[in-house]
């Protein structure tokens, strides 16, 4: 008969309608899946009792791929078809890969889409597909362990992952047949696992030293929402480097100076790793070198001396995040350690010493991220009596409106957590302007024409006022489902107009990726274009103002002044038509200078008109 779990009071499920949810830590070296059962979050083991699934996939021409330990063992004999550390390739373009490609043994195929493809005997595979194969194994494991289909999952990603990398992770999940409730930042998941989300507003540090990567993040909790204040790290530093250091030490003690063969190196790394793990509990271990009859003793003290330089390298990024976040040590409420290498007493010691407090270590550092993800998944599946955690999601591309000259004013920057609302005031551009067109755009480029147009609407009924005096407040609001509503309100009359749009509507993942790539590629040209447009807009504004003044107060001009002004206006109009922002700026300065006397006289006249027929006493305070 079916096996049941204990539910929260009043939350028993209808049979066959259980909302099974899981949290997945899709790691560079290892992946895990965890779930909440009978109120406790725990990682799920495979049939052999292993919780960690090595993130390695081996492809075959004639049968389905294998994932995990079995694939790792084949990495040596079949390196081209055995894909490891695919997380480093997620959401990357061909160009990025070529930069780091020297270190990767795989054969890449340039597709027509710009997405890197790895040639294997099982066919050409994209990083997304390789990740999907890993996720599929975890999904099957969870569904076997839970006795049902998963309703949805929460997958963790590094805090520094950009939208393309996040989108690639979501695509991998979709390919594996998983519904993603949400992507969660890894340090946030670790904090959630320790229940830090139930604390009051405070700041936490998450120190994550894994097999091959080091990340340190500063999180700020405000009203139940975690915000990543700063991250830093080293993408090539971890437990593997410690093993290599120990292996070198072992080699030094070996008789003879023959370079070890690849097989010997692997063996050395394995015994190094075992020795390092045993020294977590023991004070000294004996290491027997296979085939040599040599036995060496490694003490914890010697180990510490060997690895201290590596641990020291993690402290630089620690200092950097604190500086970036603008924090000093006493402001840190808790330090959480994540990653297998933080099991080592020396690492904990150094972390405690640096941050001035012992880190939280109760939860297995290999599993803490998956456990936090499982807790969040449980809430999102609706298995908790009340939503105990606020929803954390981010918008993939910045949202803004088009201003005069086609420039974009960003109201909500990309990666803002949603729900979010931002408002900004805009002024009228022309005298007597009674309407304003609001053009809502999405993207990272400086010019609206390079961004994606989401919606246009008009605000009518602005009272006729001089340029700059009519004020319109534009509010952007993105709800928890990513729906954007934009409203515009004229502040003196209170008239309002609004529109609702779905920001990512119609944008395929490829398009989002392309838009992000372009924003980086064109950053330089964009800035130049923006400078030019800004000067052009300033020129237009000044030309209009001066023209209006000439019509209104012709009698205030002194002889010859009109010609000078008109000459300067002509020069500016000419410069405005060209593309040199500097020339426009100079022409603006000239026109500004020659109209100064005129402007002063107009102001005096204005004041005289305003006070005409009144007594001085009226202006006494």
């Amino acid at each position: 008969m079916a096996l049941l779990q204990i539910s929260e009071p009043g939350r028993s499920d209808v049979p066959h309608e259980r909302r099974l949810a899981a949290g997945i830590d899709l790691g560079t070296t290892n992946s895990l899946i965890a779930t909440v059962r009978s109120g406790i979050a725990e990682t799920l083991p495979d049939a052999a009792g292993n919780h960690l699934l090595p993130s390695v996939v081996r492809y075959f021409p004639d049968r389905p791929p294998v994932v995990g330990i079995e694939a790792i063992e084949a990495a040596v004999v079949d390196p081209l078809n055995t894909i490891a550390s695919v997380k480093r390739l997620m959401g990357r373009g061909i160009a990025d890969i070529q930069r780091i490609g020297n270190r990767l043994p795989y054969e890449f195929d340039e597709g027509d889409t710009g997405v890197p493809r790895i040639r294997t005997s099982g066919g050409v595979r994209t990083p997304v597909e390789v990740s999907a194969d890993i996720l599929r194994v975890l999904k099957d494991r969870a569904e076997a362990a839970l006795g049902g289909l998963l309703t949805g999952v929460v997958i963790t990603v590094p805090a520094y992952f950009d939208d393309a990398q996040r989108q690639a992770t979501k695509d991998a999940a979709r390919l594996a047949g998983l519904k993603v409730f949400r992507l969660l930042n890894e340090p946030t998941a670790a904090a959630v696992a320790y229940g830090l989300d139930r604390k009051t507003e405070s700041v936490f540090v998450v120190y994550d030293l894994g097999g091959g990567t080091f990340d340190v993040s500063v999180l700020r909790l405000t009203q139940g929402v975690f915000e990543v204040m700063a991250t830093a790290g080293d993408s090539a530093l971890g437990g593997d480097d410690m093993d290599a250091t120990i292996a070198r030490w072992l080699l030094e003690g070996r008789a003879g100076s023959v370079d070890p063969g690849p097989g010997e190196v692997r063996g050395l790394l394995r015994v190094a790793r075992q020795a390092r793990e045993r020294l977590t509990l023991e004070e000294a271990v004996e290491i027997r070198l296979e085939g040599t009859g040599v036995t060496r003793t490694l003490t914890r003290h010697e180990l510490n001396t060997l690895i201290d330089p590596l641990i020291e390298r993690t402290l630089g990024p620690c200092r950097r995040v604190l500086r970036d976040a603008g924090l000093v040590l006493p402001q840190i409420a808790e330090v959480v350690v994540v990653g297998g290498a933080t099991r080592m007493p020396r690492v904990r010691e150094k972390v405690a010493e640096f941050f001035g407090r012992p880190p939280l270590t109760d939860i297995d550092p290999d599993r803490v991220v998956a456990i936090g993800a499982a807790l969040q998944a449980d809430v999102l599946a609706g298995n908790k009596p009340d939503a105990e955690m606020l929803l954390l999601d981010v918008i993939p591309l910045s949202l803004g409106i088009e201003m005069m000259g086609g420039l974009v004013e960003r109201l909500i920057p990309r990666n803002s957590t949603i729900p979010v609302a931002k408002a900004q005031e805009f002024t009228t551009f022309k005298d007597g302007q009674v309407a304003m067109a609001i053009h809502v755009v999405q993207g990272e480029r400086e010019l609206a024409s390079d961004c994606r147009s989401l919606a246009r609407f008009e605000l009518r009924g602005i009272p006729p006022l001089p340029a700059g005096a009519g004020r319109v407040r534009v509010t952007f609001q993105v709800d928890a489902d990513g729906l954007l509503s934009v409203s515009a309100r004229e502040l003196t009359t209170g008239i309002e107009s609004q529109v609702v749009v779905k920001p990512s509507y119609g944008l395929t993942d490829d398009e989002i990726e392309r838009m992000l790539r372009e924003s980086l590629e064109f950053a330089h040209e964009d800035v130049a274009a923006r400078t030019l447009r800004e000067q052009q807009v300033a020129a237009d504004r000044l030309l209009q103002a001066v023209a209006a003044a000439l019509v209104a107060d012709l009698d205030l001009l002194v002889p010859g002044e009109r010609e000078t002004i008109e000459h300067a206006m002509g020069a500016l109009t000419q410069a405005r038509a060209q593309t040199d922002p500097e020339a426009i700026r100079k022409a603006i300065a000239v026109l500004d200078r020659v109209t100064q006397g005129f402007a002063a006289r107009r102001m005096d006249a204005g004041v005289r008109r305003a006070v005409a027929g009144r007594h001085v006493e009226e202006f006494e305070p």
């Binding site: 008969m1 079916a2 049941l4 204990i6 009071p9 049939a47 362990a145 006795g147």
Partner: protein
């Protein structure tokens, strides 16, 4: 007949209660639903209802409402594994038939 827990089940319940950080005990119940008519309820108890009957087995307090007791009389709650899956199992002497998956039953 009382409602009982096996030693394994009791040990699990204790652990889950401890992990949850609060709770008076365990509620066993039955409600009408499912393909065979009745389904089990297995929940933590934060507050007992006045009409609840309370049993104590292996150090765990078990709460049952009188209507459910009719169907659960003499039931033993066990904990076990099936492949990778693990969870609680109702050994209920009153059951005459159950649906294929065992999540609902008839008496």
């Amino acid at each position: 007949m009382p409602i009982t827990l096996t030693e394994v089940a009791a040990e699990r319940v204790q652990r889950f209660l401890k992990g949850r950080g609060k709770g008076e005990g365990l509620r066993l119940g039955v409600r009408s639903t499912g393909c065979s008519g009745k389904a089990y309820v297995l929940e933590f108890v934060d507050q007992a209802n006045p009409e609840d009957l309370v049993f104590e087995s292996q150090g765990v307090r078990v709460f049952v409402d009188p209507k459910s007791l009719v169907y659960l009389d003499g039931t033993e709650l066990d904990y076990g594994k099936e492949g990778l899956n693990e969870g609680f199992r109702f050994n209920n002497p009153n059951v005459k038939g159950q649906c294929g998956c065992g999540e609902s039953f008839s008496v």
